[in-house]
Symmetry: C2
Subunit: 453 residues, 2 copies
């Protein structure tokens, strides 16, 4: 909700409100539990990273309709005065359990469960999915880049091509959460206290009569912080100019921090540039690369022996280009103490309030078990009660704490589940109690609705 100037309660699908009106007319105010989960993995994924929860809790805690919102709804001619009056007093009064940000989770596992009077719990569906879907997709994508980079530094360069400015902020935050070192996004630096990085653009070079004039001008203004973009005309002529500038800087007691490559065959060019600098006695110049990087291209150039110290990772991470959404759903699993589900082809849901237990051995994640919330399980329960009666149970985690939590758990996940292509599925089981209840409810529903027995 960071940065939205309007009341976000209308950031919802119309049907959430029309269903609300029907619940209201039927006097349906009993508690409902909705589960948020992802039905399946996008290609080449075998885990997800939890992110976006903080935004959801802010949204829930401040939910209310302004008079302007109500006037708009009234003007649609769809809603009774009674129901609009009810909405004018509506606040979110429910409970929320969730897997904290920065934790790993797997398909079918509930990341968040909302229990509230059904109108409240229904109304927030669209916003809850919107906030968490994007941040999970990006946190997961960014973690794959971090894994592929094998310890090299990564910087988020995506702002210009993220899907909107708000997405750009969330991508900067979320990629930092997953282990990026910072971002080029200045506002994200300010809002989230993330390190900011920058080099120079081709326009800077072409605005000068000669490339070396541009290099020299920049190095004089930023003697401690100059990374020269060397591909505007041709990489090796750029490298020769950069070497000249490095010597001039050294003569003034400074040093050239690095050069940036932005086009061409990155493995080959980086090796040539590195060899050239080494031969010139300029071993300390870092090589920074950008241009279409994602986990696949990072892994590829490193396999080819690229001499690259750090990557600027832009568009493909910032929109999660190969998987720009997750198959995330928010489904009713219990109403008025009755466990419920739908049977729609390929879209079955797991009934009732749940918990996920995570088992470890020798510091490694072994398996998860999805259980009924009332069951006992072994291992760590992942869903924590984080909101009671519409109020946060605890203050928000800091971004640094979430980042550390992620790094520590990611190390405990076996590499076979993190492979960039065709990772191995992580074992997730259903508890006996959940399996039994699921079968029972499916049987009941089929009997009742389809006449099967």
């Amino acid at each position: 909700m960071e940065g939205l100037a309007y009341s976000p309660v209308l950031l919802t699908d119309l049907y959430e409100l029309t269903m609300g009106a029907a619940y209201y007319r039927q006097k349906m105010f009993a508690p409902a539990t909705f589960s948020l989960f992802i039905r399946d993995y996008p290609p080449h994924r075998a885990y997800f990273v939890s992110a976006g929860l903080d935004e959801v809790l802010d949204f829930l805690a401040s939910l209310n309709f302004s008079q302007e919102d109500l006037d708009y709804l009234d003007g649609t001619g769809r809603f009774s005065q009674d129901f609009l009056h009810y909405l004018s007093q509506l606040r979110f009064t429910g409970h929320v359990s969730a897997i904290p940000e920065g934790r790993l989770f797997f398909k079918d596992e509930p990341i968040l469960e909302v229990t509230a009077p059904i109108i409240e719990a229904q109304l927030v569906e669209t916003y809850v999915i919107n906030a968490i879907n994007l941040q999970v997709a990006i946190a997961t994508k960014a973690s794959r880049c971090v894994h592929a980079a094998e310890g090299r530094s990564l910087v988020d360069f995506s702002l210009r091509r993220t899907q909107g400015a708000e997405a750009g902020l969330k991508v900067a935050r979320t990629s930092f959460l997953s282990g990026f070192d910072g971002t080029s996004n200045v506002l994200a630096g300010k809002l989230y206290n993330i390190p900011i990085f920058g080099t120079m653009a081709h326009s800077f070079i072409t605005s000068f009569e000669n490339e070396i004039d541009a290099f020299r001008a920049f190095s004089q203004v930023f003697p401690e912080n100059t990374v020269l973009l060397i591909d505007t005309y041709e990489n090796m002529s750029g490298a020769r100019n950069a070497a000249q500038i490095a010597r001039e800087m050294a003569a003034r007691g400074h040093s050239l921090k690095g050069v940036r490559l932005d086009s061409g065959d990155m493995a080959e060019i980086s090796k040539k540039v590195k060899a050239f600098f080494d031969a010139e006695g300029l071993k300390e110049i870092s090589i920074f690369a950008s241009g279409g990087f994602d986990e696949f291209k990072i892994a590829q150039v490193l396999k080819e022996g690229a001499k690259i110290d750090a990557f600027g990772v832009g568009t493909k991470m910032g929109v999660s280009a190969d998987a720009p959404y997750t198959d995330m759903a928010y489904k009713l699993v219990k109403y008025d103490e009755r466990p419920v589900l739908k049977l729609s082809a390929g879209k079955k849901t797991l009934v009732d309030e749940k918990q996920v237990f995570r088992e470890k051995r020798d510091g490694k994640l072994i398996k998860d078990v999805i259980s009924l919330r009332r069951e006992k399980g072994s291992g760590e329960p992942l869903l924590k009660p984080i909101m009671r009666h519409g109020e946060r149970s605890e203050p928000p985690d800091t971004l640094e704490a979430i980042r550390t939590r992620f790094r520590e758990e990611f190390e405990q996940l076996d590499d076979c589940h993190k492979a960039i292509t065709n990772p191995k599925p992580f074992p997730v089981e259903l508890s006996g109690g959940l399996q039994n209840l699921q079968e029972e409810v499916v049987h009941e529903v089929k009997e009742k609705e389809l006449g099967e027995s």
Copy 2:
């Protein structure tokens, strides 16, 4: 900028500001022209739809640094007090030419050219690309869905899985621009005066003891506006319940508007459901379909003879899933009267200030010619001067006017360029003047930087 609570001037890459500091130190205040264009088509595209301009003009007209912004920049330790003082007084004072929203354009064509003192023109790069990239991608994707639907009605259902809430608003606006009939996004309905639509969710059905109870309850609250979701348990049992409700509504003088299918083999199910309603004498019930639709799935089910009257189009359109970004760039083409370009592998730019001329014959688009702005051309010049000295030359177009403009021009584009797969490229030529100048500048640069002659 709609809906952002913060000053957007920091929504920029750090390098725009560090380059600004270097231009400032070099006393480089001469006018620069930057061109915004798309280097290539994503797969299966042969045109783009202009969108996002209005947001850019708002941004430029209100550009300024707040004291808080300046304090943050000061705190980074990167900028001199002189430069920060300069920023405190900076406004956008330049000129903008652009292709209006709703027009078609093609790769390599400048959609927008900014001419301003170089620090101003450089600083706005990130935001300009961010705003226009997303809206062009979505307007283009949505137009493909409209084309595939062959006159059937389309509604934007994407809010829950757009990349953030701001993206959800822009998708609603932009898909309407491209010919959608409305959106499920209530806030977009309010902000842009777009028709809003909604049906019901599976949770509504499962919260009742029986499906038919849920159907009946909804039809009583919305007697004029009921679309029943029939796949919660099984489509044909749902259709039988819907038929029962349709008869009950008819007995009260109302009529059931439609049913919604949301899973399974849509062509087959829609034919069965339609045949069932016809046999029951309920021909007037519309069939609405949702669930993973985009232009490819719409075309596929229609080819298979689906009996569908309207589509809810969600995630895949809302993130432009098969092409979630465009290869859009904002490049310096002239500085201080000198035409400039870069030579980076695969990323060449067209020099100098430009115009695009569009030729028609018999009400059909024939070809475009990219020319130098100072050249005469035949056909309609597409870039219009829309901002002078930082002020809009004309009031913003209404969304309805843009929508009409798009519909009329889209009809003039031959179907071969609109094909959902493997469309034929549209002819775009370079003028003689542009070709000559381009060759001249490439030659000069190679001589100067690479020692070639």
